[in-house]
């Protein structure tokens, strides 16, 4: 297509208008002539006009027909030209295979990494809440759990919510075909699905009647559960399922791919409202969500919610903390669910963007060299009549083909990544299910490829402009060297800065991970096995039966060969799960309706501290003589002790706001990292299991002198034998439990390190290639210098300094940028300052040394240059 055709294509609407006008005039002339002819033949005036109109027909039809024809022809010409250009580009790329392979791999990795993270971002962030008008969904009071009573009061209060619901995630034990299975799900308020805005595909969701005491127990199942466990039968609606020992009727099936907040939830059970049990109504175990009404916003609802809480405190005579009320929030549900994942993914998106920029800059550098090598071809083509636009189009087509091939490689790369990391990603990002290539992903990759191709194409054009001049034929150095050098150096500065930025961030993350992995969790990890036992549901109704069961189980496990100790706890440190209660001490002054402070509560067996290597700082451990009938006793941790006014708590009492008797503090133990290694220990209270709260499940820790693997099977068998309904999950060495708790940070640090190494190698390859290419270009000049007496050493020295300049400049720019970016990622760092001089210094030194090596290696050929040989060669 010539220049004129390009213009015509882009100016098509204007040309079309002009053509229509011309044709209108032409047809008017034709009509006039025809009428004139008919009149001359003697036809009456009116009849002649009618005949002319009949023959010409509707003028619009002419226009439309011509328009259609023009568009088709235009498209055909355009596609033919594009195909020819791509074919020619393919032949050229095939001729320079080394360039093509390096460029394709570099771009493929760059785009592929980008594509993979975008895919993840799309799945985790953009698809986080697949509900209608999900922006209106909010999390009510995310810092606190609610009681049923409070949830009902919020639901009936007018705080600007269209609907309100609450839920509590639960692990249900479902008995099917005489087998017990653990199924994740939630206890929910009847308005749960309505709040999310989803309906069942079969049956119904919950109604208010389902929540009343005495109503028929019901449940709703996920599509996946219905398909996999209930045989995808519509008749499953109405059938009974035994959930936690209660027969519940299946009343509804949720749609495919619907996940109510968490993708692994499979069952939903309505919790009872107005239960007769006060403890049940007042227990703080629910999370609140709501849907904003159309005419309000989040801020207004938050204000109304705080006002509601003030009134609630007065009405219900509760001891809600005024600080809590003033800090109570109504938060976007999307942000709440994403938590750190969103910010982490933003960081990853940023990292892969840098990887891609470095990859593109690298390929651009190669492209500059390639275009310069073709300067004679361009000049000759121009001389024989090829215009600038034609050459420009050809260069753009080459880069477009390169981009297209690279995008195919990137898809393969992404699929490879998916098979390698899918399991880990599912674990780290709860919303993530699998890598999948959707239309939006293809659109994204097409956009990225187009931008990359155009960027490379325009770089080629900028360099080629110098080569298009005729006088270039007489140039020794080839092409516009000053301009291409500038482009080369600019690209090198950019890549160095981007790459250093990634290296610094990776360094900070690696150091942060190293700091974290050396944190003492406060308990011994070696030679210890942990597993979670789901207490048989039949034992939950009577705590004495549960106590007897665990007593007998512990005795049997402790008697196994190689087992040195075995103990239980409600929630093992660094695993999910927690119970928190308000406590008071005798004589504690509770100002302003203060309800007391919060402590975590864990129920343990006697000897747990010894088995875990937790130090007993004061007092004594639990004893078997502490029974359910004797004085309730408690052991507190050092963090709780430090919060109390009395520094000697032994023999003093604590009272929980759930009621009951005062518990006597009998000991103080050292702090344990219960929640995260990065967090300081929180106040904890340990209760003895015969006197404690039953949660339905217990973690068991077994200390052994034998290899862990050798006792696992025996422990398994013993627990399975202990009760027909006993169920074991989460079997792991205690070391692995600790390692798993920081696995995400390790993964993130490794990912950043991987990106940093990748870009670092690209930059060094770029430096090497650029040096080698410049030496080739200036070998004549250097040969002359050597011939007239310059020493090789001084030449190499000057040469290296000159080449190192853009790298040093890039390092400086990269260091400044790193300081800014690291500030944004501070939340991912643990005990590492944002401006960690060691990391910054190491990264900069590493870069400069590597760049020097990349410059020196090709420079070693300088002493071998001889002017006479070069002159003969010329």
């Amino acid at each position: 297509m010539s220049n004129v055709k390009y213009k015509r294509f882009f100016q098509w609407p204007h040309a079309r208008k002009r053509w229509r006008e011309e044709m209108g005039e032409e047809l008017a002339f034709h009509r006039e002539q025809l009428i004139r002819e008919l009149l001359l033949k003697g036809m009456p005036d009116l009849q002649a006009t009618a005949e002319a109109d009949r023959r010409l027909g509707n003028i619009d039809n002419f226009h439309n027909r011509v328009d259609r024809m023009a568009v088709m022809q235009q498209m055909r010409e355009w596609l033919t030209d594009l195909f020819n250009d791509l074919l020619f580009a393919g032949r050229l790329l095939n001729r320079t295979r080394t360039y093509t392979c390096v460029a394709l791999i570099t771009l493929g990795l760059g785009i592929g990494a980008n594509f993979a993270v975008f895919n993840l971002f799309n799945e985790v962030v953009l698809q986080a809440l697949p509900y209608p008008e999900s922006d209106r969904l909010v999390r009510v009071w995310p810092e606190k759990n609610l009681s049923i009573e409070m949830a009902e009061d919020i639901a009936s209060a007018n705080i600007g919510l269209e609907t309100f619901a609450s839920y509590s995630a639960t692990n249900f034990t479902v008995k099917q075909n005489q087998l017990n299975k653990q199924v994740l799900g939630a206890h929910v308020r009847h308005s749960f699905f309505k709040t999310l805005g989803v309906d069942s595909i079969y049956g119904r969701t919950f109604t208010e009647q389902d929540s009343h005491p005495g109503a028929m127990p019901v449940l709703v199942v996920s599509f996946e559960y219905w398909r996999n466990q209930l045989g995808a039968r519509q008749s499953a609606i109405g059938e009974l399922l035994h959930v936690n020992g209660t027969a519940r009727q299946v009343v509804g099936v949720m749609p495919r791919d619907h996940h109510s907040l968490y993708p692994d939830w499979q069952l939903w059970v309505p919790y009872e409202i107005d239960s007769l049990s006060d403890a049940y109504n007042h227990n703080l175990f629910l999370a609140g969500i709501g849907r904003l009404s159309a005419e309000t916003d989040q801020q207004a609802v938050q204000t109304a919610f705080r006002t509601f809480l003030q009134a609630y405190r007065v009405d219900k005579s509760t001891t809600l903390d005024s600080t809590d009320i003033n800090m109570a929030r109504v938060h976007s549900l999307r942000d709440h669910l994403l938590g750190d994942s969103g910010q982490t993914l933003n960081a990853l998106m940023f990292a892969v963007l840098l990887v891609m920029l470095v990859a593109v800059a690298n390929v651009a550098n190669l492209t500059v060299a390639r275009v310069l090598a073709r300067h004679r071809e361009f000049a000759v083509r121009r001389t024989i009549g090829c215009n600038n636009q034609r050459l420009a189009r050809q260069l753009l087509a080459e880069q477009l083909l390169l981009g297209l091939l690279a995008s195919l490689i990137s898809i393969l790369f992404m699929l490879g990544l998916s098979s390698l990391f899918a399991d880990q990603l599912i674990e780290y990002f709860p919303n993530f299910r699998a890598f999948s290539i959707l239309f939006s992903d293809l659109l994204y990759i097409a956009g990225v490829t187009f931008l990359v191709s155009m960027g490379l194409g325009l770089t080629s054009l900028a360099v080629a402009r110098g080569a298009l001049a005729l006088e270039v034929l007489h140039s020794q150095s080839g092409g516009n060297t000053v301009k291409s050098n500038r482009i080369n150096q600019g690209l090198l500065i950019g890549q160095t800065a981007f790459s250093l930025l990634l290296v610094v961030i990776a360094g900070l993350m690696a150091k942060s991970f190293w700091q974290l992995s050396s944190v003492d969790p406060g308990f011994a990890q070696q030679q210890r096995l942990s597993l979670r036992i789901h207490t048989p549901s039949s034992l939950l109704t009577d705590s004495s039966q549960g106590e007897a069961y665990y007593q007998q189980l512990l005795t049997r496990v402790r008697a196994l060969p190689g087992v040195q100790a075995a103990d239980i706890i409600t929630y093992l440190p660094l695993t999910s799960g927690d119970i928190g209660v308000y406590y008071q001490t005798p004589g504690m002054q509770l100002a302003d309706g203060h309800r007391g402070s919060i402590t975590g509560v864990r129920v343990v067996s006697e000897g747990y501290f010894q088995t875990m290597g937790i130090q007993l700082l004061q007092g004594r451990d639990f004893k078997q003589s502490d029974t359910r009938d004797s004085q309730p006793v408690a052991i507190i941790n050092a963090a709780l002790l430090s919060e109390l006014p009395q520094q000697n708590m032994l023999g003093r009492s604590l009272l929980w706001d759930t009621g009951g008797e005062w518990a006597l503090v009998i000991g103080v133990v050292s702090d344990v990292k219960q929640h995260q290694l990065s967090l300081t220990a929180k106040p904890e209270t340990y209760l003895y299991y015969p006197q404690g709260i039953w949660t339905g499940s217990m973690d068991m820790v077994i200390k052994t002198s034998l290899p862990i693997a050798s006792i696992t099977a025996a422990v398994h068998d013993t627990i399975n034998d202990s009760h027909p309904d006993a169920l074991i999950t989460r079997v792991a060495r205690l070391e692995d439990v600790v390692a798993d708790s920081i696995q995400f940070r390790r993964f993130l640090a490794m990912l950043f390190m991987g990106f940093a190494v990748m870009t670092g190698l690209l930059v060094m390859t770029g430096v090497y290639a650029m040096t080698a290419q410049l030496i080739v270009r200036r070998r004549f000049e250097m040969g002359i210098r050597i011939a007239v007496g310059a020493s090789s050493a001084s030449l190499i020295y000057r040469w290296s300094l000159k080449m190192l300049k853009p790298v040093v400049l890039g390092v400086l720019i990269g260091t400044v940028c790193s300081a800014f970016v690291a500030r944004l990622l501070a939340h991912l760092l643990y005990q590492v300052p944002v401006l960690d001089m060691l990391v910054y210094g190491l990264a900069a030194t590493l870069f400069c040394v590597a760049a020097l090596l990349a410059i020196l290696i090709p420079s070693l050929q300088i002493p071998g240059l001889k002017a006479r040989d070069l002159l003969v060669g010329q």
Binding site: H30, R55, Q73
Partner: protein, 112 residues
């Protein structure tokens, strides 16, 4: 003589031939074909103008505005070098085609 529609694919050839002698506007092309065929062939305007447009796009024809015999502004078409070569090519093809068809018809008549 009754009027007949054009044989498919012959319009381009006739338009090119009409313009071989010199520039003509659309109406004159219709008249030229009509007179040369003794009113036997009638070119439909609905086919002529799209064909003129198509041939212009293919660079067979060039056009410019001029004055008609009755001093009206009209668009005159003329053959380009490419159009002339196309005419020669199409004429050869047509002659070969019609002579072949004639031979077939002659043979058929002989056998009958």
């Amino acid at each position: 003589m009754s009027r007949s529609n054009l044989v498919q694919g012959t319009l381009d050839l006739m338009v090119l031939q009409a313009l071989a002698a010199g520039p003509l506007h659309g109406y004159a092309i219709v008249k030229w074909i009509k007179s040369r065929t003794d009113d036997y062939l009638q070119v439909e305007e609905g086919a002529l103008y799209p064909a003129l447009y198509r041939m212009s796009r293919k660079k067979w024809l060039d056009s410019e505005l001029g004055l008609s015999e009755n001093n009206r502004k009209a668009k005159f078409y003329r053959l380009t070098v490419k159009g002339r070569s196309q005419l020669s090519h199409q004429t050869d093809a047509w002659i070969r085609y019609t002579s072949a068809v004639n031979k077939v018809l002659a043979a058929t008549v002989g056998r009958a």
